[in-house]
Symmetry: D2
Subunit: 459 residues, 4 copies
């Protein structure tokens, strides 16, 4: 293939180094189906609008459908010399159906064509990720339900703070993921806009009808400005930003699973099927999956930064720099999907060391706030109560007590508002049960929340 | 101030180096009004719910209102030893109203308090930015209107591609900014949620009523999970991501203004009031403002990356790392607002060298596509027409012609489909006029678009 | 001050919004001393080369010295209308010494002047950071020495892997910091180059002698190309990159201190003076300092990204975008210095729970590798030995043994190569003692390493 | 392959989803040669030190050499079930030579093995990049020489500032690239350190001799601390940082080539062989290569950010997150090499429109500084001279003059220091010729610089 489709004014052939440097077919082949789908709609529209003849249109559509079948059965071969997926498909079409094929590119440019392909592709993928995230939300709800009444230490600063329910803890991730999903849905509104018909940059002189294209390709909106359309990928950077947040959330859950799998925490055991061993240390069972997810966060952050860098300071309209948007996008989608999928599988088969979690609640003075609250209910100001509870903790550390073990006489030395009911007031069960404020960790709250969200998910 | 409000269990004073290292009052003082506003609502709610006495509640509210007045008149002094805005305000309140002040922090933690302050602050700032962006949209529409029928080269790859209208070009930015605004509105839904009442991490044992808080502070939603609430700032990272896209868009417009201000383009002149000179070269008039805006893009990209990094791999719930979210946030807001404001002022007073733009349309074969389209209308396939037009360009370069100057006999040597009407077909005016596809650059389209969007802006 | 020093060709005054948008004096005042120092050298050189008169030169130098004194005693006032530090100093000089002051800017531009100021400033700051890092290295060596024979679990994947010495662990950070320091020294070679004399971009027509400047300002090298000199800040981006690695290293040490401070690990206690409490939970003692250091990592990563973004795609030579290099630079230097300083103070006063570390070594099968090695020494291939040791671990978990407690008869069931000497072979002490390979954790190695590195530090 | 080499303690098989998620063989196969090379050295050392028998050592070495041959001839097949390159090679070795193969992994872990592989690989690649950069430096020198006396406008703020030589402009890139190369050489010192022998994290109990390994693998230094060695990749992040700076430099050159290729500048023509056309606009000849290089800058910036993110806050020592270091590294190396290579080929065949560059020098008042300098030489202070030159420019713009065309009588109205010699003083040739300060653009300087640097390159 020595002659390029755009070669009219060129006297020299493309340098082969350049061919390899500039080609995108090695990665944009992923868009093949979308490219063909878009071309089918374009050909139909050209026919409907009388820009090409009805039979030409049909010939092209049939040819493209044949190519699609070949592609799906693995029988299409692409060539680097043809640069990109658009040129490859067009070339193969012409080879297959002859002259009519040369009419397909009427009233179209690769600039609006690639914008279409990416939007079709990304629309599909976002919808897939939304479904995956919903599945993950269901898994989180199910785990929260299963573990709803397991008491564990809640942490701030990685210090034991107050007892919470594992179900409550898991629900905190449910809501993070839910917001991620909301963001994707908002993003979708901006992805789901027809770019085709913007042509190279200025629109076209052919009497095209973009509403036909929108109908055929199922776009609720049509882009309003041709220059904007071929120059921008902000919908894609927005997607990358949302993905970075998804990975940030997964990195935090991963960090926790890694901590909880350590001998020191020993709160959970990740199934053998989701861990690997060491080539040298026979005892090792490593939480590789959460570690890799945490590591892959860097990958998505990096791609976001790549995309932002690419577009910084680019003048209107299409610049070849935009070709660099695809590999990061593909890798983000791949990474996010894989990470969610593996979490969907891994989370439900984690086994919880309920007993260890409970023991952990007992050491670390997690009920000190409740001791202070006790005094407040007896009439002290919170600041004074906080001060006394702090002294109790200090005293307990020095005497190797836990608050539950301090004798009542001692309590009274700190404040004579203390009475025997202090022991039940600061029992772990009570600490949890009484946190009934909306969004708090009480048994009742957690139960109701799970039911409410399950219902919504079904709705 | 030697004694910390949390100092009950501590035996040693805080190291002064540590005090300086950990304090945040030097920057979170910006949240003072929001902190007081939140505390007022909290005190009212504590009173309404009977957690503190009515008169205590009133005393606190009055005290806080007095502090707010003092703050606004510049009469509040904050202390580094008191760490942050919350401790400072509480300390000043206690100093002013005595014992009752110590009851304010009942059923609250700094963890949900800071979440509240940031949300109140960011809600306000997003609303301001939305208004600024709307003003900027209006400015863009007005400029587009004023310059609507100025022909100029449209570029791809910074090569002259096809003639467009300056109005059309300006509208391409209008739509970018419009999407940015849409994104902010979506973001606002996730900012506008009441966090207060989540307490330290687990909710509270006091019989608080969060709906009262939501009503007083004007939040349409209440956060659902206390651990999620105090651990996450994803609404803020989302905002940073949107801001990065806004700056990306401004960097592109800036790049174009810089290009257009160069002697080579010479399309525009930025007003003296918006340029600066050189300390050594007397002739210089530099487009400093667009250059700085382009440079400030780095600043916002960087802050986004900071925020993402901070949250990577953090376990639940609040960690002190979160304190680092504020300075980037403040600087993003500052940067974005300043950049939009200056654009609002600078753009309308740019003077356009209409003549130069028109001349530029004539060199560069911007009508070659139209020559090809001409042949297509006469029956050639697009691919063949494209090939012939390419040869015409090659021929013209070699003979120092522009397409409009090639004699008709020569035209016919390339294809005898050419006729005298080729000259009107490829006139710049015609090239523009005929791009009537929806979103295309035709005079009519641009006019209608401006009217439509102006109407919408008013609506 | 209505008239700018560059105002010759301007008809309109600068818009005041623009003045605020473009000024840099609000942050580049930090360069005042360096700006004056550079101007003094410049004035001397102009005098020596006969470009200005000797007495003019002296007058300028005296005037600048007077300004320097005023600056140091806090008696200089800068004005936003004068944009930047250069214009402010020049204006104040002229105000003070009259006409002669107007000659200072001969053969110079703000473009090479700012390049000089930054290089002088950064050279100083890098030298300060090098000294701080050396102090930190000494602290690490002293801690390693103090804790050299404390056994603790070494981790991979946050799973207990093999016992190591805390001294060995601390030394691992010593070497990281040492490399950071090496990098800074390499960076310094590229910072320490005289830019002055490059003028606006093309050099100057005045008969200046740059070797005089280099001598006066103590630069070992002179920049070779004027356009390169005023256009580039790669030495500064290199510094930002090194700083990001420093922070990365500190973030890892911080993570470990946070983990070790948790109730679960309970390996260390950070001094009260370096921790803070909770406003609600009286028992809390939070590792705020390491948390903040970890968080501040994001800040430095972000600034690196800002700087890289700023310079992406900028044409030659100076562009106003470069003004944005300063605030990130200042904040990086500030952050890195503060973080190292606080570590220098905090690390030595950490108290180690030696006993807990030792106990942790006993659970987690950290000697399983040694059990395998034992079998290898008895003739098995490593792969078979690894397999058997793995089965022993599995058996122990199921029977709640540790390896040291399995009876010898049981051992023999797994392999009859086992004999009674297995118990001493897998004792923690022996596990450590026998890791004598260069760089390994044996008592002897750690001791020798500390001595060797202490000697080098002194050398 | 159902049984993992580390499977002793595992009861369940690895989930196949996990296998795909955790495998690295799909990308770390690139390290095959280095892995084998390292294993050969390890086997030899084990033999020399008597840890395995001489004949076993030989058998292993022979087996590995056979595998290497097979690999090079494309006859090795790797399996995903075997996770990574290490396990694959070991498995194939055992399959080929039987029992002896199981002894290879004695006194070694995958943790120090992968550190070795990456260092061997990166050492090789850095050396290749250094050679490429040197070739590029030679190309830049040759181009500078070829175009040394072509006058062109030097720019600041993309405004014409002062005339320079194209040779001088090209040399500014020569020095940037030279520094990049210096940085790589410094980096190499930190890459070129033997990690093997650190084992899993703590060193090994076998009597290995790391100096033998260092000799066999040609490492001048041996790592000092086993935990540091397996936990860190700072040498690699440093490399990524340097690569980002290289790309930043190339992005700037690319931006300039794109600008110069525009119709507006029309300074250069990139060879047909290095440009591509448009699918729709027949006249287009796009500077795709520089555009793509500029775009690929984002890719490398992003990978740097990925790597920094991965390592943020990781505790000692090896964590699975580190596996994510490889793909960014591979892609950085690939990108940087490709971009330099294509520049080496493209730059020399660019054709310069010398005439246009010269014409551009004449418009834009590039000699205004020289007019001011003229007055200074006649005794005015620079500040006054600058002011007058500014007024001259203003006057010229209003009257459509260039400075060279203002009649002498008019000149005298601005200052009677002006005389007829003003015209020669401000001729472009003179403006260039007289900028003789070291590093300035004078003809003589540029010539001497080229000779000097050519000599150094040969030295």
């Amino acid at each position: 293939m020595s002659k390029k489709l755009w070669g009219g004014r060129f006297k020299e052939d493309t340098n082969s180094l350049v061919e390899n440097f500039t080609e995108s077919i090695s990665f944009d082949y992923r868009l093949a189906e979308y490219d063909i789908e878009g071309s089918i709609a374009h050909a139909k529209m050209l026919g409907e609008c009388g820009i090409i003849k009805e039979n030409e249109s049909k010939k092209i559509v049939n040819g493209l459908n044949a190519l699609l079948r070949d592609y799906k059965s693995g029988n299409l071969e692409f060539s680097t010399a043809l640069e990109d997926i658009h040129m490859n498909i067009e070339y193969l079409l012409i080879k297959r159906i002859g002259e009519a094929g040369k009419k397909l590119h009427t009233a179209r440019s690769r600039n609006d064509q690639i914008a279409l392909d990416i939007r079709l592709y990304l629309r599909d993928e976002i919808n897939k990720i939304i479904i995956l995230l919903e599945k993950f939300q269901v898994v989180l709800l199910e785990c929260a339900e299963k573990w709803q009444d397991y008491a564990m230490p809640g942490y701030t600063h990685l210090q034991r703070a107050q007892p919470v329910l594992l179900g409550h803890h898991i629900l905190s991730y449910f809501y993070k993921i839910k917001r991620d999903n909301d963001r994707l849905r908002d993003n979708l509104k901006r992805v789901n806009i027809l770019p085709l018909g913007s042509s190279a940059l200025a629109g076209t002189t052919y009497p095209i009808d973009r509403t036909v294209l929108a109908r055929l390709l199922n776009f609720p909106k049509i882009s309003d400005n041709s220059m904007d359309t071929v120059s921008d990928r902000d919908f894609l950077i927005e997607f990358a930003g949302i993905s970075a947040i998804i990975m940030m959330h997964l990195s935090r859950l991963s960090e926790e699973l890694i901590l909880w799998s350590s001998s020191e925490f020993n709160f959970i055991e990740i199934s053998d099927a989701f861990t690997t061993g060491s080539s040298i240390m026979p005892q090792k069972k490593n939480p590789d999956v959460p570690e890799l997810v945490r590591g892959k966060t860097g990958r998505v952050y990096g791609h976001l930064m790549s995309l932002l860098t690419i577009f910084k300071g680019l003048p209107m309209t299409y610049n070849r720099d935009l070709q660099e948007d695809k590999e990061p996008l593909f890798d983000i989608i791949n990474t996010v999907k894989n990470c969610i999928e593996i979490y969907i599988k891994m989370l439900p088969v984690i086994s919880i060391n309920k007993e260890n979690m409970l023991i952990a609640c007992k050491r670390g003075f997690l009920n000190a706030t409740d001791a202070a609250d006790y005094l407040v209910r007896k009439g002290l100001s919170f600041r004074e109560a906080h001060e006394i509870a702090g002294q109790l903790v200090q005293y307990s550390i020095e005497n190797k007590y836990i608050l539950d073990e301090i004798p009542i006489e001692k309590y009274k030395k700190f404040s004579n508002l203390f009475d025997k009911d202090i022991y039940s007031a600061i029992s772990i069960k009570n600490c949890i049960k009484t946190r009934t404020s909306y969004g708090g960790t009480s048994f009742n709250n957690v139960k109701k929340t799970i039911l409410r969200e399950k219902k919504k998910m079904k709705g």
